[in-house]
Amino acid sequence: MSTGSASNPLVSDADEHIHEGHDHKPKGFLARWVYTTNHKDIGSLYLLFSFAMFLTGGAMAMVIRAELFQPGLQLLEPNFFNQMTTVHGLIMVFGAVMPAFVGLANWMIPVMIGAPDMALPRMNNWSFWILPFAFSLMLMTLFMEGGGPNFGWTFYAPLSTKYSPDSTALFVFAVHLMGISSIMGAINVIVTIVNLRAPGMTMMKLPLFVWTWLITAFLLIAVMPVLAGVVTMVLTDKYFGTSFFDAAGGGDPVMFQHIFWFFGHPEVYIMILPSFGIISAIVPTFSRKPLFGYASMVYATASIAGLSFLVWAHHMFTTGMPVAAELFFMYCTMLISIPTGVKVFNWVATMWRGSLTFEVPMLFAIAFIVLFTIGGFSGLMLAITPVDFQYHDTYFVVAHFHYVLVSGAIFSIMAASYYWLPKWTGYMYDEGLAKWHFWCSLISVNVLFFPMHFLGLAGMPRRIPDYALQFANVNAVVSLGGFAFGLSQLIFLVVVIKCMRGKGERAAAKPWEGAEGLEWEMPSPAPYHTHTTPPEIK
């Protein structure tokens, strides 16, 4: 399709040498990485941090699957098992998926919209550097007397209030720090997109990754403060004698769930909307066709975000809500499948009659479309109130949200990483190794999570270190899938390290034939400062 002028590798190399003279990368570790205000460096920090957290949370998942490999208590104390499930969830949600998306936003949004940097560069740095401290706070609880959080990542009262370990205050303040970081990051994203677009870059010309992030950032600012409110109530209930979630004092443990899920459901979309943007960038590139239905994609994303505020109680169908409320939340939840269906349709329609090639970003993107849709369908099943009474709190739920989060969000992050690694590092990744990573991940992720559907339907509860004997065979298979998936991610680590160390082909300015967008009109690696004066968008 487009044979852009900047795609000549020789020209871009020459460009790069010229640019290097102007780059003024700060010398020294502190100046370059700790005091930085550069959106690309901060983006890299976010991405590296989230990968480290992904491996940490992944190691905990390995511990969980090792315990569940056989029935009976094999390796762990039940309390430690609970800490593992809790911290695994918290790390993956707040430490792996969310920072990875913020990292991608940092790297790509200014480049894509023709901005010189994020709107508030110093605050951008602060947003990032709060995170390592927040996770130190959370992880140190595991080594304290009484242990770390053991009440599930959803920290339902009274598990997190009356029955929680002494370290709960550390958990609460760690969540506060993560919230501060997220809110500042989201403010930066919104202001950058609204205020720093290059002249001519109108809203309906924005790449969909930018659009989805704009809406995600709005969700973040709207609900992270609610999370801060609910952890504060947990703190005062546990340590200051309040009874928000204690019926004896007039409160209600179910109220915890309402406030938590008012945050929690938009949070779920915070972790998937940027994925939609990534897939909407990759599918057209490797189909060599423009995205089908751009405007409908924008409206669909906005509708999903709007509906996300009206569906929170579908997590609570078994709490004894009035029937009218159950019906309301059921129908609203089912409505979400319409805009989501629009998106899946548009991706498929983009591929229809395209000249497809299957480089690794595209492989991950196609796997995303199929596997995320499976997760979407199990979500639709869970949305049906009477059926949910059976599925609630079983492995069916675990299967559902791992399909949308692992083969959904994480796969899209992998796709994005392969897609933009040449732009970030200046080198092509090792296509052979990357294909190994993809196929191993694809097969093992299904061995890992697909049988969980059956475990759940047969009645195996979640968050339990031991289980009935009839679940033994399937659990053994699931665990093997889990170990295989965990090991497969080490291939990704190798690929990334090779790229970062400059092993591999030099990447052209536009390594993907069908790619469109401002990021491909600058050399690879992207110069330290880009768009210092805004480009003109036709």
Binding site: W129, P225, T242
Partner: protein, 297 residues
């Protein structure tokens, strides 16, 4: 604000956006927040009183950071490094920050509304919850303010007349005096700015003093404490977080006052003043909601 931004966008094609060079302040802020969180958490969590010093140290680090960071921003602003586009970034950033604050208060108002319309009536046997009432607390009568909890804690409700009403009037007047300062700043009448701003700070302090009086009265004479059931919980957390915001707002306004005395701000460029003023008006609106939903209704 966002509408004006898109209108003016095309007029500044060539102007470069100011990207600050490396700054030490964010990492100082991150360390400060870490110390505060760690100290507070260990102190509250029974780690011992020595951790209150860690919390204190963290607060000192944060104050040091605020001076340094805002100092940089003020210097840059005064030396004319900020374009109109930069100014819009600040304005939009501040607006979204205030939106996040609204959502924070909404969580607590949500808890209040849920308790009043659902949790407490259900404990009294409303809806399909007859058995909870029958089995656990048959003597409990649902009412609001919840002066007797199902568990048997009793307390008294804070009337809206007296101090709360006085405080409402004080905050309303303070919004007017601040607006008076603002329009005079735009007219360049600096004496009136100092007068209006000084009065606002004074009113903020009086509000805080009266609220402290109210708390003392509640604790010592009314038996209304943070732990006296859901009424006390919502009362103290809502008014407490509001009071914290008034404290912060008063400090912000005081800093602005000092800056006005030093001759900062021009009729055309005074984002810092505007941000502080937005914040104060926001805190006022929160109080009005508090006054209606916590005190009167």
């Amino acid at each position: 604000m966002s509408s004006t931004s898109s209108e003016q966008h095309s007029t500044e094609k060539t102007e470069a956006y100011y990207v600050p060079s490396q700054s030490i302040w964010p990492i100082v802020g991150a360390v400060g927040l870490f110390l505060m969180a760690f100290g507070a958490a260990r102190w509250i969590g029974g780690g011992g009183d020595q951790y209150s010093w860690v919390l204190f140290l963290g607060s000192v680090v944060i104050i040091f950071m605020l001076f340094g960071w805002f100092g940089n921003v003020i210097t840059e602003s005064m030396s004319g490094m900020y374009s109109a586009q930069m100014d819009r970034s600040f304005r939009q950033g501040m607006s979204w920050f205030i939106f996040s604050e609204i959502m924070f208060f909404l969580a607590f108002f949500g808890a209040l509304f849920y308790a009043r319309t659902i949790a407490v009536p259900w404990l009294g046997g409303a809806g399909n919850n007859a058995m909870t009432h029958e089995v656990l607390w048959p003597q409990f009568q649902a009412h609001w303010p919840l002066v007797t909890t199902p568990g048997g804690i009793t307390t008294t409700a804070m009337p809206w007349q007296g101090l709360p009403l006085a405080n409402t009037i004080i905050l309303l007047i303070s919004s007017v005096t601040l607006h008076f300062a603002h329009i005079n700043l735009e007219r360049g009448l600096r004496t009136q700015v100092k007068l209006g701003l000084g009065l606002t700070v004074l009113l903020g302090c009086i509000f805080l003093f009266l609220q402290a009086e109210e708390y003392i009265h509640a604790y010592q004479e009314m038996g209304l404490t943070l732990s006296s059931g859901l009424y006390g919980n919502t009362f103290f957390l809502l008014t407490g977080f509001h009071g914290l915001h008034v404290t912060l707002g008063t400090i912000i306004l005081f800093v602005l006052f000092c800056r006005v005395l030093k001759g900062h701000f021009t009729p055309a460029q005074h984002f810092g003043f505007q941000a502080g003023s937005w914040y104060w008006h926001f805190v006022d609106v929160v109080w009005l909601c508090l006054f209606v939903f916590v005190y009167i209704l």
